[in-house]
Symmetry: C2
Subunit: 242 residues, 2 copies
């Protein structure tokens, strides 16, 4: 059962542990609900793109630099990068550890067809001064341990870069479960987009903008995991939590 309390609409927001988040994902893609990872990733990535666009205006923040990790969080970032490009943003993507699966290869091709440049880590870091906002899609809710190269160096660079950072689901490098972070909390995103439901570590998020994305959780999942979540407005794929 998700834990509650603190922050959010009505001050009664739920937070999932790492194990609960894994189980929610398994339920969504299991035989009872039958979502494909393609579907969920498309909706999750779209919600991230919409949330970023809602907070960071195109006129003031035209250039988005996206860092993608090797797993599903990176896939969400690739999808978000595509939608941000359709939204008229000038996007570049750093995706140093590519996943050898058809879905991911397709996501890369779709970005290439839009003329989105893929850049190496060094080039991405060198281009930080010219970007308006960074989308951090390196590590998600299944992350454990310590960031490894080349992501360790990216996190270090981002932590002092002075650009607004938007993290997808988990600020990369943060321990997912712990309420109190330590030295691992190098990254201090200005915005966090929790997907499906906030994870425990979101309690220690102190940035300006906390959003929820992933408008696909059915009531039976909400009930089983005791999720208290804000309502999405109208046809929006995202909602502000705080």
């Amino acid at each position: 059962m998700a834990s509650r309390g603190g922050g959010g609409v009505g001050g009664n927001l739920s937070y999932l542990s790492q194990q609960e988040a894994i189980r929610v994902d398994e339920e969504l893609m299991g035989p009872r609900l039958g979502f494909s990872v393609d579907q969920l990733m498309e909706l999750a990535g779209l919600s991230c793109a919409c949330a970023l666009a809602e907070v960071y205006d195109k006129a003031t923040h035209p250039a988005v630099l996206v860092f993608c990790g090797p797993g599903n969080n990176g896939g969400d970032g690739l999808v978000a990068a595509r939608h941000l490009t359709h939204f008229g943003r000038d996007v570049r993507v750093c995706y140093p550890k590519r996943t050898d699966r058809e879905l991911y290869k397709g996501l890369v091709k779709q970005l290439e067809s839009l003329g989105v440049p893929f850049v190496e880590v060094d080039e991405a870091i060198a281009s930080l001064p010219a970007c308006s906002v960074v989308l951090d899609a390196m590590f998600g809710f299944s992350f454990k341990g310590e960031p490894r190269p080349p992501f360790k160096a990216v996190i270090e660079e981002l932590s002092g870069c002075g650009k607004p950072i938007v993290s997808v689901d988990i600020p990369s490098g943060w321990h997912v479960d712990q309420e109190d972070g330590g030295a691992e909390d190098l990254l201090r995103p200005e915005m966090l987009i929790s997907l499906t439901a906030p994870k425990e570590c979101a309690r220690r998020f102190k940035g300006k903008h906390h959003f929820l994305g992933g408008r696909f959780v059915p009531p039976e999942i909400r009930e089983r995991f005791g999720l208290s979540l804000p309502e999405f407005p109208g046809t929006s794929q995202c909602v502000r939590i705080s």
Copy 2:
């Protein structure tokens, strides 16, 4: 090359023939772009749900009856039905010829998990007076010939039902290519949501609302098929054509 002229933003809208529409679809899902049908259907269905919600307000049009055919158009309808449910609409679905594929079975399960009732044709037709708006997702751009049972009877019933009908991509029963329709144009939708680009038959659409959905067409496809299309505003998944 898509033909142009008439209607739309700037009066220079493109219309795809049936063969061109099939080729665009093949390109999108081919090795160069690598979209999965799951992805495209999710975005297409979402855009239909958003467009319907933009035109038919929840307060005045709470109950949506969705008719789904056996192919991809029906799949778009199933996705739209799910999003409309998340948007707070009271949705029921009539899906008499089910497709025996994992994606479609998943789409049904997702609707069932939201408590959306699946009704037989007779029950659906009997419930027409209680519904506010009908979503027609029976036949899409690959349709040829004449509607067969049970869809033939559904089209006949809908043609005289007096409820606003929203057609996904093609008004069901219409010949996709012909500029001039004939007796086959039984259905007179009030709204048409063209997906990717309008098809030739959209030239004879005389309803109140024509929208474009499917915000995923890369420039190389637009150029190769000579597509002149309106720009989507902001982060919207749909745009009004006329």
